[in-house]
Amino acid sequence: MPDVRLIFQLFWTYLKIGTFTLGGGYAMLPLIQHEVVDKRHWIEEEEFLNMIALAQAAPGLIAVNSAIFIGHRIAGWKGVIATILGAALPSIVIILLIAIYFQQFKNLPTIEAIFKGIRPAVVALIAAAVIRMARKI
């Protein structure tokens, strides 16, 4: 029986992953790797790669599929609910706020400047994940 603390950890971990990944899909992998492999030790590096292969092979969003894999592995269906909620909640809240209040959001020069800095960093994060994984094949 998974305890409440573990369920909350799963939710919190995927909430962080959902909040801080820009560009979706592959951009989420380095963060998932950091949280799930390095920090929580829920799975090992090798199994992380198996997970991505499965998440990629199944239809749907890779981030959501990986959330289901981890949730199921660590705490069964309660874990799945926790990780999916965590992964989807930030998206839903942020997009709703934008849809309702900030239609001009994307034209703000400040936002655009911040994204100019973030975009190359996101590519670097993915490249680093590739290098780490290549050593574990």
Binding site: G25, V64, H72, S91, F115, P120, A128
Partner: protein, 201 residues
């Protein structure tokens, strides 16, 4: 009625959306245009916002389309849940099968080789994704490349530290280990890169 259409459309998208994010966007596009929920230009804007905001692109897009099509928060929740339902069914089945096979064939040589080949393919696939993101739109000037290289070095520093200590045969500087762990945090690096962008541009 429109709620039922939304539900059905996004369940379809979830079922047929192989290949993640961008593949799913094109499916959503055909659903949105065929139902006349919004114009093509509106949809392009939504894709841009979905990419610029955090979270999985498919969820972002579903939330936005659901809201625009119905003008209500319930529409966006419905679309987001609908796109997840197929993933849930299929992925849980796959997880069960995988767990079963793994426990049974853990030491089977053929199984290990197959998984090895699959892992190799996955790494190639992700490397391809990283390279295809190196567009002029993301790498606008020399500063972009500096941000890229510094971020890459920071991300790889814990691995480099481990290799060096292994080579020397002893843990020499625990402080450096701590530093590499801190600077290799992806969230910290994204926030830093955003701050640098704000200062530079």
């Amino acid at each position: 009625m429109i709620y039922l259409q939304l539900l059905w459309s996004f369940i379809k998208v979830g079922f047929l959306g192989f290949g993640g994010g961008m593949a799913i966007i094109s499916l959503i596009q055909s659903e949105v245009l065929s139902h006349g929920w919004m114009t093509e230009t509106e949809f392009v804007d939504i894709v841009a916002i979905s990419q610029m905001t955090p979270g999985p692109i498919g969820i972002n897009c579903a939330t936005y389309v659901g809201y625009t099509a119905t003008g209500s928060v319930w529409g966006s929740l419905l679309a987001s849940i609908a796109i997840i339902i197929p993933s849930l069914l299929i992925m849980l089945t796959i997880c069960r099968i995988y767990d079963h096979i793994r426990d049974k064939w853990k030491d089977n040589h053929t199984f290990k080789t197959i998984m090895r080949v699959i892992r190799l393919l996955v790494v190639i696939l992700i490397a391809h994704a990283a390279i295809s993101l190196m567009t002029p739109a993301s790498f606008i000037d020399r500063n972009s490349w500096i941000i890229f290289i510094l971020t890459l070095l920071a991300m790889l520093s814990p691995m480099a530290y481990k290799d060096i200590t292994k080579w020397q045969g002893q843990e020499t500087r625990p402080v450096i280990k701590k530093v590499t762990e801190i600077i290799s945090h992806p969230i910290l690096l994204i926030i830093l890169a955003g701050a640098v962008g704000y200062l530079l541009y």
